[in-house]
Amino acid sequence: MKTGEQAVAGAVGSQKPMAISLRNLRVTYGKFEAVKGISLDIPQGEVFGFIGPNGAGKSSTFRVLATLQPKFLGQALVCGLDVLRQPQKVRDIMGFVPDFFGVYEDLTSLEYLHFFAAAYRIPMEKRKSTIDDVLTLTDMSHKAHSPVDGLSRGMKQRLALARVLLHDPKVLLLDEPSSGLDPRARIEMRELLKALREMGKTILISSHILSELSQLCTRIGIIELGKMVAQGSLEDIYRQLQVMRVVHIRVENASPELYERVKQIPGVHEVEQQVDRWAIRLQEHDASIADLHESLVAAKARLTMFQPEAMDMETAFMKLTEGKTV
């Protein structure tokens, strides 16, 4: 994690400004403080995952960045532009998909996109080609002439993405874009977001489901009760939490001696004997997965299966938020 000074230097310095920079952001509704001093820096081109349970203050933060929150304390910059002082310019370079979004039931997809193309003041002669492009990108061309009202939730979500891509924004703010989607729509959405990442857009995306973001994001921030609990790359967070990774192995020559030898390997915390496999809990900052493999081979284990488990985000999350919701 960066210190405050470094971050300010990054935002003010002559190099590219941070795509998103929050300084001690506080949002209050009446007496209730929804966001209690969040600081955040997202360099351009990064995909930042914002994770937190419901009511943590994700949407409130998004609303500030989307220039929709007139009153807040602290500083919020988008590409070096102050959200309070230059909201118009911020809106030009930013695309926002709110968490709850309705669509105009009286329009077709094409009309809907034309509506927003006009709202973003895209020149008339470029509109048709731009809209065709985003429809193709979001794979919505076949639904261009159907009424928005009749689209499935996944399609509506894709249409919303198409909408914010119209003016080719540098920064995308996506508030829980895959909530309420079925698994297939969820995967399609993820692929779409990967494509956007390839296009070099800075994306701030939120979710309350962790595994969803782990494949997509370069960095992750975990927010709870209005405070940032942890922030950094996935590895950073694991290291911070000392989360153990589980590696499943199957050995041909299973024996109590081998079991003892495996337990002695540095970094191995515990070996659990299961029906057809051994589950090794590995302390990753002591030994990498590759180290473990080497050591196992050195311990004369004849491996028929070596399967590191996908990063255990749920465990991380539970561990982080332990007892803090009360």
Partner: protein
């Protein structure tokens, strides 16, 4: 304590009452209601006492309701006031009771509880009846005072309480019925008033001589206020010697009606619990369209307006309001135009042909009536412009675009301009009729024909201008009122209350202007004259009138109206045997005053618009850069 336990547990009623008690609006409504009712009561009682003192022995004909003390006159008048109060308040109190559960999606959970449907209906009814009665109780001090004056017999008291109670139940059951049928509070609100209004008007107009439910009010005033003489069923029954039984018999139809309405509500409660929220208007239009479409196919006709995909060029918000909303699409507007315009044209035609009386007077009243309707439509539409976006959750997407808040608001109003033009049509056709009639009447036998022609042209010009300005004023006022509300129902109610009070004020001013006691039309004397003896009464009359015009929602139009009468000849004015307008020697002062009123209304429109645009970012709920003066004032003419 034991008695208390005998009362069955009423969980829903308890919840509803707790909820009502927690809402600030409840108290605002009650306070306002109480103040209005009480002040009217004071006025009525004062009036009644004055008249009692005035003619020593009113009502020589002795009826069962003996006129002993002053209470006998004042009491029924006071109670008589309660009926319209119930009629006005009750539907608005009940119409939301079930729809709000539908809007909050809590109706399903209500059904899975062990409450039977009839219990739900009855507890809902009770939860609205209790607040209503509590408002009525506020008039008790007044009633007690009047009662203490003497002359009110027990029978009258009992009969009155009985009738008031059933009047409450009657209007509550209709409100509840609408609430069960409609999916939105706004729909139920409008429907309950239309329904009660129509039922009331129809039963009052068609006097069958039998106690139809909605005649209670009229019957009460006939049978009891005046001490008889005019008949009506309450009177008839009372003279038969069984006054209380008569009252009871007379309420039987009401009871039947209430029971039927409640049963129907219970029947509809499930069946219409999960209906979609699409606009009723749109649905009706679709039906009609379907019908016409079929007709067209059989007749091999042409389609004038077809639904096509169309795309906005520059003002997307205005485009959507114009092309995609039911109140914006040309084909639907044509229909609204026909519905509004045909009856008005008919009346105009009738007025033009009927040369016996003074048709212009009727037409001026017609203008105020049309204005009330037009103002309501504009208010409904304008107040939901923003809250509909909020309710459908489309607001945030709209606000994150680079359009300025002022531009969004302006486009929203611009999208209403077509509707406004359609609504202006009936008004302007009345004006046109007036112009034609005055040309007919006056131009033939006066000397300064050119001047009169100029006045007529001016009248036409000002009519168009002021109609347009007033509509825009109402639209902007409604936007201001409804913008911050999150639900459509609330924004409509808020704006309706504001514009509605303005309309009520207009009618009051209208009544004052018509009342020779308060304000003498042709000498400018009385109230104004008494205090200003040193001035020319005509001038003061004009000034006072102009001031009253300024208060009226259609004031600019009415002020403009004076232009016409100023050029009529004295012969025409005395035609009916008495003056109904001031004889104006100097039309120039009329011109000046009507211009003053028009300028005031133009200024009002611009003022309201300016405030709305200044506050646009706050109304919309986002932060905006400071608006340029150009944004505030420029491009203003196109939006009025």
């Amino acid at each position: 304590m034991i008695l208390w336990r005998l009362i069955p547990e009423l969980p829903l009623l308890k919840r509803e009452l707790t909820e009502l008690a927690a809402r600030r609006r409840t108290y605002v409504v009650r306070t306002v209601g109480a103040v209005v009712i009480l002040s009217l009561a004071v006025y009525f009682v004062g009036d009644a006492l004055a008249s009692f003192v005035g003619n020593a022995f009113p009502g020589e004909r002795n009826t069962t309701l003996k006129l002993l003390g002053a209470g006998a006159i004042a009491f029924p008048r006071l109670v008589w006031l309660l009926f319209p109060a119930i009629q006005i308040l009750m539907p608005s109190m009940t119409c939301g009771s079930i729809t709000i559960e539908k809007e909050r999606n809590t109706i399903g959970t209500l059904f899975v509880t062990r409450l039977s449907p009839m219990t739900i209906v009855l507890e809902k009814l009770g939860s609205r009846l209790i607040p209503m009665l509590s408002v009525l109780i506020l008039t008790f001090p007044m009633l007690a005072f009047v009662y203490s004056l003497g002359g009110v017999d027990q029978t009258l008291l009992k009969a009155t309480i009985w009738l008031v109670l059933w009047e409450c139940l009657l209007y509550a059951s209709i409100g509840l019925l609408c609430s069960a049928w409609y999916s939105t509070t706004v729909g139920a609100f409008v429907a309950s008033y239309v329904l009660t209004g129509v039922l009331f008007t129809v039963t009052v107009i068609l006097d069958f001589g039998i106690p139809t439910p909605f005649r209670l009010w009229v019957e009460y005033s006939r049978g009891m206020t005046m001490g008889g003489g005019r008949g009506g069923f309450l009177q008839t029954l009372a003279t038969m010697g069984y006054p209380l039984w008569g009252v009871f018999l007379a309420t039987i139809p009401v009871m039947l009606f209430v029971v039927c309405a409640l049963l129907l509500t219970r029947f509809l409660l499930f069946r219409r619990a999960f209906v979609s929220q699409s606009s009723l208007l749109l649905k009706i239009f679709r039906r009609v369209d379907f019908f016409f479409h079929n007709l067209n196919q059989q007749a091999g006709g042409v389609i004038v307006f077809a639904d096509r995909e169309s795309f906005p060029e520059s003002d997307p918000v205005a485009w959507r309001e114009r092309e995609k909303k039911s109140l914006g699409k040309a084909r639907y507007l044509v229909r609204i135009l026909m519905v509004l315009e045909l009856p008005v044209l008919f009346i105009c035609l009738w007025a033009a042909i009927d040369s016996s009386g003074l048709p212009t007077r009727g037409l001026s009243q017609l203008l105020l009536v049309i204005w009330s309707v037009v103002a309501m439509i504009v208010t409904m539409k304008a107040s939901t412009l923003l809250s509909s976006e909020r309710a459908r959750e489309t607001m945030e997407a709209l606000l994150s675009t680079p359009m300025t808040g002022a531009s969004i608001l302006r486009q929203k109003i611009m999208g209403m301009h077509r509707l406004m033009m359609v609504l202006a049509a009936p008004l302007l056709s009345v004006h046109l009729t007036l112009i034609l009639m005055y040309m007919n009447f006056s131009l033939s036998f006066t000397s300064g024909m050119l001047f009169q022609l100029f006045l007529l042209l001016m009248y036409g010009g000002i009519s168009v201008l002021s109609t347009w300005m007033l509509m825009n004023t109402i639209a902007w006022v409604s936007v201001l009122c409804g913008a911050r509300c999150t639900t459509q129902a609330r924004s409509v109610m808020t704006a309706m209350v504001v514009v509605g009070s303005w309309i009520c004020l207009s009618w009051t001013v209208f009544a004052i202007q018509r009342n020779p006691l308060v304000y003498d039309q042709y000498s400018g004397a009385n109230l104004v004259g008494v205090y200003g003896r040193n001035y020319d009464p005509a001038e003061i009359g004009l000034a006072g009138r102009s001031f009253l015009r300024m208060l009226r929602i259609d004031g600019a139009i009415q002020a403009n109206d004076e232009l016409l009468t100023s050029i009529t000849s004295a012969a025409f004015r005395t035609e009916s045997g008495r003056y109904f307008r001031e004889a104006v020697e100097n039309p120039v002062s009329e011109i000046l005053f009507s211009l003053l009123v028009v300028v005031w209304h133009v200024g009002l429109c611009w003022g309201v618009r300016w405030i709305a645009l200044r506050r646009s970012s706050r109304l919309l709920g986002r932060n905006d850069e400071n608006l340029s003066t150009e944004e505030l004032f420029g491009a203003g003419l196109q939006t009025g």
